[in-house]
Symmetry: C2
Subunit: 445 residues, 2 copies
Amino acid sequence: MTRIAALDALDIRFPTSVHLVGADAMNPDPDYSASYITLATDDPDLAGCSLVFTIGRGNDVQTAAVRALAPLVVGLDAGEVLDDLGAFARSLTDDSHLRWLGPEKGVIHMAIGGIINAAWDMAARRAGLPLWRFIAAMTPEQIVAAIDFHYLADALTEDEALDILRRAEPGKERRIAELLHHGYPAYTTSPGWLGYSDGLLAELTRRAVAEGFRTIKLKVGLDLDDDLRRLAIARAATGKDIAIAVDANQRWDVPQAIEWIRALSHFDLAWVEEPTHPDDVLGHAAIRAAVAPVPVSTGEHTHNRVMFKQLLQARAVDLLHIDAARVGGVNENLAILLLAAKFGVRVFPHAGGVGLCEMVQHLAMADYAAISGVMEDRAIEFVDHLHQHFTDPVHIRGGRYLVPAAPGFSTRMHASSLREYVYPDGPAWRGQRQPPPTQARLKRA
Amino acid sequence: MTRIAALDALDIRFPTSVHLVGADAMNPDPDYSASYITLATDDPDLAGCSLVFTIGRGNDVQTAAVRALAPLVVGLDAGEVLDDLGAFARSLTDDSHLRWLGPEKGVIHMAIGGIINAAWDMAARRAGLPLWRFIAAMTPEQIVAAIDFHYLADALTEDEALDILRRAEPGKERRIAELLHHGYPAYTTSPGWLGYSDGLLAELTRRAVAEGFRTIKLKVGLDLDDDLRRLAIARAATGKDIAIAVDANQRWDVPQAIEWIRALSHFDLAWVEEPTHPDDVLGHAAIRAAVAPVPVSTGEHTHNRVMFKQLLQARAVDLLHIDAARVGGVNENLAILLLAAKFGVRVFPHAGGVGLCEMVQHLAMADYAAISGVMEDRAIEFVDHLHQHFTDPVHIRGGRYLVPAAPGFSTRMHASSLREYVYPDGPAWRGQRQPPPTQARLKRA
């Protein structure tokens, strides 16, 4: 029997705020960060890793939460965990004491999700398969067994999930072959950060189109005149045939969102992302009804399957953004992909940050191969940040994600990167602390 | 100028699981715990404290989250903080990096709420008033200035909030006098824990009625036959004139909740609490519509004002349970009380645990004095646990909370209790660790 011998987490931070990379209406100065998780076993060849993405301060809290879960995981039989990832996930999410800290949301849920993802990485490595192919090789019954259907009965039963998965079985090999040959469409947010000048926006937009991207996304929501000007610049740079989406990063109240989106709507927007607070299901439904036919979306901060269920039940969104590191791991994302398939809503996975592109590509490709069976009018977000720190970085060609081929979840970082960026003692930080936030209203004594 | 000199948090745990105190359908073995927060200043007479309630494992994570916020708070001008508690609260909830860990939910939001509550404790102490009277002495404009109205515009504007508060101004002194003379109604959950025998249930129910309680609450949801039998025992013990509520603690899916509640409905239930997942606004609305006229409620796990807003907009509940230690402090609870007043929904504050009775009584009394102006058909939960650890414990007489008279938020614990129950080194734990959870499905190697 092989034991899980250790669960460790490292506080890794990149000082991205220096160059305003990633600045948007709600996040002016992110330092892209990760709680980097490793699961070790008695067998040196059997290990898994993953990460929880944060944007700087608080990454220590996230890392403490991961470490606090070690007593629940260390000592388990690794084979039993990997053979029943559904039971493993439920043993963490159903712990009644820990559940009180959510339930199923925030720091503790992200920590649990990160550990579950590390177990999936280990399982796929053990099988010698990239995660998307590992999922695609599971039977419908195995996928359903990995999912916690509690609280889903009014929207998706186990039988309905099995039906969806069985309908996807014919053609699975053809779709896998298509992915192997052509990859999966990407869209890019790289041109559109709020910190960039108009000139840089135009230049990066032209470059994105030249590289083959068919959709770009701009950050909006701080100043309407700026948004109108920047959209005009981007539209001039793309021409008519490229889709342009915008992302308000939760900036608006519901009435303000409706007014602002109407003012932007003549730009033929592919979607408007996160118009208001991610918890506001009814708010998204009200906005969507008021601005139709402009497509409305959310999801990167949607914290569990119960919230995704409601977004779909309320017809609150035209499309959804799943995130690989916010919900309770691969298991909960499988539930969410099945909900989206049942309701016929397109999924555009959220990525960027640290390692999110590496992870979420697996979920999108598994969805095409084995769940929804649809790739048309879909794309995975791509931002060209920090990929050099991963041993199996994403490969983009002609505006498409090429399939990841190495076994696992593409989550392993170079040891040299971990040493360099560990906070606060890594050489990148030279022992400096991140500055505290600007508190415009409050003086410091 | 007086500086905030220190922000500290202690991991305090009580081994309540030994006696099955507090056992319900989702929480079979809670060890009632608190992250106990102290804010100190350069002035030894100016300090504040509060707590975040948890049920055992994970209290270390909660405590780490509080401690991680110290750099944002230590060094601030205490006078400026106390004179503008709205700005102080927003300086924590709007920190973009920390917001990523929620947003506004889970461990980080509870940590922020705990710190904000400690600041309110300090402000009320400085004013020499118990918190409920400190709030009642604020002008409508001051109360509105303490509230973050972001994301509320489609349900409650600042002007509407001012109107509600101004309507409550006449009669405020009369209502304060009434509270001083007669206190505020309590209801009790003490008889109804799932771990108790039928005999103990009957005995504690009779005792509660004899003590003057007009409403008791039973835990349900594990086994329908048990629930029917226990409700019959409780009803026989109370007679017809005492209200009986039940609490399923999130146990059911939506269809199951509807079926189960219908089976219990002939017991003339005062309300059915937490029938399903607290995030499921639409689920509660569906349940309520299906089981009417049985009243449906939730709220103790509702994590922020955006979720409370939707419960009210969707007409998902007949009554709401606010919690003093889950949302973003007194400020966010003021927003929630104003939302409830606008929508005309009764509030039955959640209490029990550690210190929740002590804290929430202030919010209910402030609501009666200065916000809704209504106390009829309302009550604050009461559970007779762990009050002896507080310097200003609640006083119950004739089934009513007597007003807290000491300055502050009634949150201070005895130094001897802190020493005894600090985890894991306090004498109560004798250096023992809490056992890991039972993981029925997973073997430990």
